[in-house]
Subunit: 228 residues, 2 copies
């Protein structure tokens, strides 16, 4: 039986979004998987329900999904981020939090996945903050977790998620959701402008993975036990 | 009794350079601490010898120091990197490796230490590669290790050092030196251009440290046991 407010995931049929939906459903939270195509969203929701007994997961079009809970995850490739944010303008409302996981990999323009594009606003997260309606807060997170690992409940996670954003209270609320997933430790990494440094971790890990045939994650050493 | 070729450290009187000298001396390697001022270099060498019985450590002016071994560490603040490299032009020779640990923090221009400057060449490491004499290879490393932790032999280290650079053999030689320090694991993080992403880890860790009152380091999860 799921409890708590529903968690919408825009782009929930992609690898990262689906993995997130699966893990949050396994943590007994109701999830709404968003997609441009409601049939594909429902198909992904069905895949979650098949893996998680009693999961309360449904599919919807992205803008419908985004209205369903106070904290909305955005898990789309960089080349689709701007279009998605434009479509969400009429759906997101004052007081909502948008958790942006976008990484501006050069792969978005047919470049290498080991390279980061320069974004005029400084980062994909700051581009998101510029595009959301007034009163919507963007928090940036989840760039370093392998989508494949997240999407396989058999894989034990043991890594950190660096969370950036401006109001600490919004960051803390997002951290609470991330901490529902066993093996993920959310870490306050600073203001939203610091998202540009965190987004750079993804191409860096891809570069490490190419050299070491790995699926590396990040863990910070030397942090206190009590983080939030 | 120290063994192996001497390890020159340009800027070895600074916090990071001194910590490195101390740890390499403790690993029984001969070290030459470089400074603009040979008296200050000798004073730092004396401090190492006081802490490490039998240490073979001496002080010299930077350009003299740089001639003393095949792998030269450059541990200076970004605002002094270019001047140092200009001074080293007549000292470095074909076949040497320069290990650049420079981070272009905005603090170099009185900005915040949580912000990274844009460097025209892409990174401080690539600026170094542009400035060294032909035949000298720049390898980038050591951006995420706390200078304070390195400089205190009582502090147990347990973290990764991301190493970038172009010829893998040069990276491997630098990795061998780093691996002499107990608790540091060198990881091949890719080509020299990836240094721009690694250099961004320093302001990111500073941002984390401010929020969490910590001295964080980085560790990658999911890597194979055999790395080089």
């Amino acid at each position: 039986m799921s409890t708590g407010e529903a968690i919408p995931i825009v782009g929930g049929t992609g690898a990262l979004g689906f993995g997130l939906a699966l893990r949050l459903a396994a943590a007994d939270r109701p999830v709404v998987i968003g997609s441009r195509d409601s049939d594909r969203a429902e198909e992904a929701a069905k895949r979650v329900r098949e893996q998680v007994a009693g999961a309360e997961v449904e599919g919807a079009e992205n803008d419908d999904a985004a209205k369903r809970g106070p904290i909305v995850f955005l898990a789309v490739p960089f080349r689709a981020q701007s279009e998605n944010l434009t479509n969400l303008k009429s759906a997101l409302t004052d007081g909502q939090i948008l958790v942006d996981a976008t990484v501006p990999l050069a792969a978005a323009v047919s470049g290498k996945a080991t390279r980061l594009l320069g974004v005029p606003q400084g980062s994909a997260a700051e581009q998101a903050q510029e595009m959301v309606p007034d009163g919507v807060t963007v928090i940036s997170a989840l760039h370093t977790v392998s989508a494949a690992a997240l999407g396989s409940l058999d894989t034990e996670l043991d890594e950190d998620v660096l969370v950036t954003g401006n109001p600490k209270e919004a960051k803390r609320r997002v951290a609470e959701l991330i901490a529902l997933i066993p093996g993920l430790r959310p870490v306050n990494a600073g203001a939203l402008e610091t998202a540009r440094l965190v987004e750079g971790l993804t191409p860096l890990l891809i570069s490490v993975n190419i050299r070491n045939k790995s699926h590396a994650g990040i863990k910070l050493t030397g942090l206190p036990d009590e983080l939030w």
